[in-house]
Symmetry: C2
């Protein structure tokens, strides 16, 4: 197996310190390849990058008809949010509206991703709740699926639970490939994650962006989810994060979502293209540089969009005293 | 340039999620290669892994004769300590004994590496001081060099300051190669870091372990530094850290020191071998797996030493709820 190409590197002073390899692909909804690098057939775990695909179960199982989810709720179902006040209060409201509470979430609790939110929680002497978990919006969507299916919510994170079967089926439908038990793991938030080729993830995003190859229900659900996410970019991630800044700048043209361990997926909606990339070593900053370079090259950015992307394509590295001593950059 | 081999990988469930490439070498003091993998001629920044080499300037410049540094002080000069009480109080004492204080340190302040020490500092509502900086012991050693040389301490972190010239000369002497301006950067603690091949770093450690190829003064200094570090492993890193646990377990037989961005250097002292490795992508956990595998294979560990190394050669990966969902492992 050939090594994937070096797509990002960290420079210190005048010398390259770290090298980050990866693979990436941009395709149209028919699988036509716009750009590609590295091994795009190797199955990779998409992690949180495909929350919008997983959220299609909300439409499959008619949870949308029962709860008439708001765009804010759909954006949170696609989100890895930063635990800021807006996120926590919206997820709380999402659950309350379904007659549920944080106690029904099975994602576990972690400190907010956002630094100020973390400091505020510490200053208040409070422990984080499952509402602060970056996945609490996705889990609220999964609880909605459980209620719509009329199954017990308890254990909804387990691979054999009807909810995860529904989520798996929705993802398989949209990527047009089977997910198999021989490449399955458990995500940070306790639900299953299934490995599939970058090629398949990218095509799934192109199909969601265009509706091509999807039945009317899935096509409409995909459009509602992408519209919700791109209209509420702050709910999808948080202050200063690439996903939020990119979606804000592109005004609906780009759906962008990162996943743990160096995964980046999304769609250039007006072109009908989906993309997926994975940094081999899981480095998030490197994957940010990679996806910024991809969008700089292929998403026809205007000056403002370019400025947003360039701050991720070349990220300053600082020492303890705050001086810039190097940069992470796309190659 | 061929890609370096995959030396560690992270598995999630039953599928490999991340791959970490790197290079490593074990040599004797004459440069004879015991084991080698990947490109060992590519210059890499050694970062904190060579603090014991940098500390040789204390002997070169006769700071040792003026201050009669204790083994604790010498261990701290080689350390990336975790900011625990024992570290902070010893560095404070180190400085006081020279008529200096934390105000003379130019390393900057960061929160303690140790979680409990961080929590205690936060609970006390205090900001971290330069004493908490993991490099404060090394910087105290550099201040000792400045005083012994009779030069102003101010600006001792700068590349052109006499202290850094002395440190550079000590490192060049022990590795037997020149450090050059075309591969130089600034370390996290604001001093220069110079790239040189893994081969050279490993040989420098073998020379320090044996004294071979060094004059009597350097040989004695190297032995005092290695003895100090291996006799005070907790001062060199901190609770639960690989460097501390490995040096505790090997009872003086192994000098082991990590550096930022996936560097590991050291010596198997009783064999007279030095080693150096670098994870291409800078991942620390992966570099821990790599060096644990190296020592398992080449350091003739007994059962207790083996048990210590194995917890780093295969490190559990947990989800938010604390369940094991995968592992980082040497390949």
């Amino acid at each position: 197996m050939d090594a994937n190409p070096i797509l990002a590197e960290a420079v210190r002073g005048n010398w390259v310190e770290n090298r980050h390899r990866g693979a990436l692909i941009i395709v149209d909804a028919d699988g036509g390849v716009i750009a590609s690098g590295g091994d795009v057939n190797r199955p990779i775990f998409p992690r949180s990058a495909i929350k919008s695909m997983q959220a299609l179960a909300i439409f499959d199982r008619h949870a949308i008809d029962r709860f008439h989810h708001t765009p804010e709720e759909l954006a949170l179902a696609c989100a890895s949010h930063h635990g800021e006040d807006e996120h926590v209060s919206n997820v709380d409201h999402f659950l309350t509206r379904m007659g549920l509470s944080a106690a029904d979430l099975e994602c576990g609790a972690h400190m907010p991703t956002n630094g100020k939110a973390r400091d505020a929680l510490r200053a208040a002497g409070r422990d984080p709740s499952p509402l602060h978990n970056n996945c609490s919006g996705k889990h609220s969507g999964m609880l909605s699926v459980a209620l719509a299916m009329g199954v017990p919510t308890h254990g909804y994170v387990e691979r054999e639970h009807d909810v995860q079967r529904a989520v798996r089926a929705a993802v398989e439908y949209v990527i047009g490939e089977d997910l198999t038990e021989d490449r399955c793991g458990t995500d940070g938030c306790s639900i299953p994650t299934w490995a599939a080729p970058l090629r398949a993830w990218a095509r799934g995003f192109a199909r969601m962006a265009t509706g091509r190859g999807l039945d009317a229900g899935h096509a409409q659900g995909a459009q509602m989810l992408f519209d919700a996410a791109t209209s509420h970019p702050h709910l999808v991630a948080g202050t200063g994060h690439l996903d939020t800044l990119v979606m804000e700048a592109f005004l609906g043209r780009v759906m962008q979502k990162g996943g743990a361990e160096g995964v980046q997926c999304g769609a250039i909606r007006d072109k009908g293209w989906g993309y997926a990339l994975k940094c081999d070593d899981g480095n998030m900053a490197a994957s940010h540089a990679m996806v910024a370079a991809l969008l700089l090259r292929h998403a026809d950015p205007d000056a403002n969009q370019k400025a947003v992307l360039e701050q991720f394509a070349r990220q300053p590295i600082r020492n303890v005293r705050g001086n810039v001593v190097g940069e992470m950059r796309a190659t």
